[in-house]
């Protein structure tokens, strides 16, 4: 039983850190603010959710797992709201979105 738990935990945590790594790279690599907010609102959310799920599997069924479930639900609600608030503020501040140029190649 504990072997299965350990293997499941390792798989979930490695997958979660992969998605968080992708979110970090996306924040650096993508071309403008609005596209960067995609990276933080989606990849990071899935990464955090996977890692918390892995810790829940490792803990088994106890009070700590319930508390982790609260953090899970809170992150799933709060992260897109934060991204939306920042993007809306940027739009009303007057930041223009970036569009791909059709004729000349981007580097």
């Amino acid at each position: 039983m504990t072997e299965i738990q350990n293997i499941l935990t390792i798989i979930l945590i490695v997958a979660g850190s992969f998605f968080m790594l992708v979110g970090s790279i996306g924040v650096v690599r993508l071309p403008d603010f609005f596209t960067r907010s995609h990276a933080t609102s989606k990849s990071d959310t899935l990464g955090i959710m996977l890692i918390i799920l892995g810790l829940m599997v490792y803990e088994g069924f106890c009070l700590n797992s319930l508390k982790l479930l609260i953090i899970f639900v809170f992150v799933a609600i709060a992260n897109p709201v934060g991204a939306h608030a920042l993007a809306r503020a940027a739009l009303s501040f007057g930041i223009k979105p970036w569009f791909k140029k059709e004729d000349k190649k981007e580097e």
Partner: protein, 185 residues
């Protein structure tokens, strides 16, 4: 000002009490009575806020929310989150980053404010779209990949949100405008 449903207060009390029990972790009489005291005082502080009408359409439209649909919606949403993150990961890791950004503007006919909040939030965590602005019935959405099936995904999400409120409509989203260059802005 609106009437308070006493069932709501009881439900709220039970919910906050469960929250207290999970967070405190002690189940003896002293801590439970402390929790009941603090939950009661929070309900008393909020009694004025509870009677305030934030959005005028809260009282006009009578809605019926189905719980079973809500669980189905959560499973649907988790599946959407997983696939969308896969797509975003593919786009970011790809060496040339084949993204083509654009703004989509559309109208919905969802019944009330809460459903619009649910739709906006779930648009933000599903494939390639972030909600930028909601005003009345108009949504402004920034999309990362401007493909043909993008509008289809938005449609299915909005139809699911409408089904939460037991509305069977095939045209929830209408008047879509896609802005993908500087001049149309």
């Amino acid at each position: 000002m609106k009437r308070i449903n006493p069932r709501n207060i009881v439900l709220n009390f039970i919910f906050m009490m469960a929250f207290w029990l999970i967070l405190s972790g002690y189940f003896d009489l002293f801590h439970i009575s402390l929790g009941a005291l603090s939950v009661g005082s929070v309900l008393w502080f909020n009694s004025k806020l509870r009677r305030y009408v934030f959005f005028p359409d809260n009282v006009l439209v009578k809605t019926n929310f189905s719980i079973i649909r809500f669980f189905y919606f959560i499973i649907f949403l988790i599946w959407e989150i997983i696939t969308s993150s896969m797509r975003i990961a593919y786009l970011i890791i790809h060496p040339r980053m084949p993204i083509k950004t654009g703004l989509i503007k559309f109208k919905t006919n969802l019944p009330n404010m809460v459903s619009k909040v649910i739709l906006g939030n779930s648009i933000s965590i599903t494939p390639g779209t972030v909600t930028l602005h909601i005003e009345g019935d108009d949504f402004l959405v920034h999309s990362l990949t401007n493909e043909t099936d993008e509008a289809h995904i938005d449609h299915s999400l909005a139809v699911e949100v409408a089904r939460l409120y037991k509305i069977e409509a095939e045209r929830v989203v209408c008047d879509e405008v896609i802005i993908d260059s500087e001049e149309d802005l």
